[in-house]
């Protein structure tokens, strides 16, 4: 399975128009996104940055994305990486031979936004549970660097 970063603009596109890029539709490539970027859609809506007219419509689009059988998550075209207890325990720390030797300072720093910390932790590929390619993390960094710049 080939994986790639599923960008915030692609999430917004699906919420607004129900559209996915063609490469995700051939069952060979899966889009991977951080829950940080997925939840950020709520912020985008509240700031008036989405062409969605009401909370009700936003919730319907959420169901269409995440819950309905024909949606991209249920069809396995897009995977949202959550921050659960195991992922937190694995990604937040640096270990040597299993022993904690410190916090992972790329995310555990106040020099970046809390949202970015969450994004880094979810997509970090430092254990077997992170089955997606390391490229996803690099693509995420590059995407957000280009947006910030």
């Amino acid at each position: 399975m080939i994986t790639r970063f599923f960008t915030p603009s692609e999430i917004a596109d699906y919420f607004e128009r129900g559209e996915l890029k063609a490469d995700l539709l051939n069952d060979e490539i899966m889009g991977i996104c951080s829950v940080a970027d997925f939840l950020d859609i709520c912020e985008a809506y509240k700031k008036g940055k989405l062409r969605i007219s009401s909370h009700k419509e936003l919730n319907e689009r959420f169901d269409a994305f995440d819950k309905l059988p024909e949606g991209p998550v249920e069809k396995g075209l897009v995977f949202i990486v959550n921050l659960d207890q195991d992922k937190l325990s694995s990604a937040l720390f640096e270990r040597d031979d299993g022993n904690v030797v410190g916090l992972w300072d790329q995310a555990a720093t106040r020099h970046i936004s809390p949202k970015r910390s969450l994004r880094y932790l979810t997509l970090r590929t430092n254990d077997d549970s992170a089955w997606w390619g390391e490229d996803v993390y690099l693509e995420m960094e590059a995407y957000h660097a280009s947006q910030d710049g």
Binding site: K46, Q85, S89, A108, S117
Partner: protein
């Protein structure tokens, strides 16, 4: 029974007391720092119910979003201040006490975030943005199936309609 969802400051105080004041031996928290009397009473009830629970009823949980731990990690030296170590922090996350639950940050929070306003109207007429972190803690509470309280340190959050009467 009631679940109590902690924001970052309250969670940090819990960790300080858990590792610094021998809560594990004494079996109870004390009212200080961000832990007020009402909250401590409910926390100690929950801990006691777990100790005495025979499985016949739900004893309730103390809980925080995994994001609250991320927030502590972002300012670890300032918050921990030598009162708990990185190793203890990691150990708590890996195996929290039976009365504590670490909630996922996942897509299920989406409709609950959607229920929260972008800004809070204060009694004095001022407008204050609802911080993203506070929104995550509040959405975590709103997502609970069981009755819940939110232990939040920002007093303005009481002005959010869906949280009113749930702040402890």
């Amino acid at each position: 029974m009631t679940d109590i969802v902690f924001d970052t400051n309250v969670l940090a105080e819990l960790l300080v007391q858990y590792y610094g004041d021998n809560v594990r031996e004494k079996g109870c928290f004390e009212s200080k720092g961000f832990l007020n009397k009402d909250l401590v009473r409910e926390m100690n009830r929950t801990v006691r119910r777990h100790a005495e629970n025979d499985g016949s009823s739900y004893p309730g949980l103390l809980m925080a979003s995994s994001f609250a731990f991320v927030e502590i990690a972002r300012k670890f030296d300032e918050i921990a201040g030598g009162r708990f170590t990185t190793e203890q922090f990691a150990a708590f996350i890996e195996q929290p006490p039976e009365w504590f639950f670490i909630a996922d940050v996942d897509a299920s929070l989406f409709p609950h975030l959607n229920r929260l306003p972008r800004e809070i109207s204060l009694p004095n007429g001022n407008i204050k943005p609802l911080e993203w972190a506070d929104a995550i803690h509040a959405a975590t509470a709103l997502s609970r199936d069981d009755p819940w309280l939110l232990a939040a340190t920002d007093p303005s959050i009481k002005q959010v309609a869906v949280l009113k009467d749930r702040i402890i």
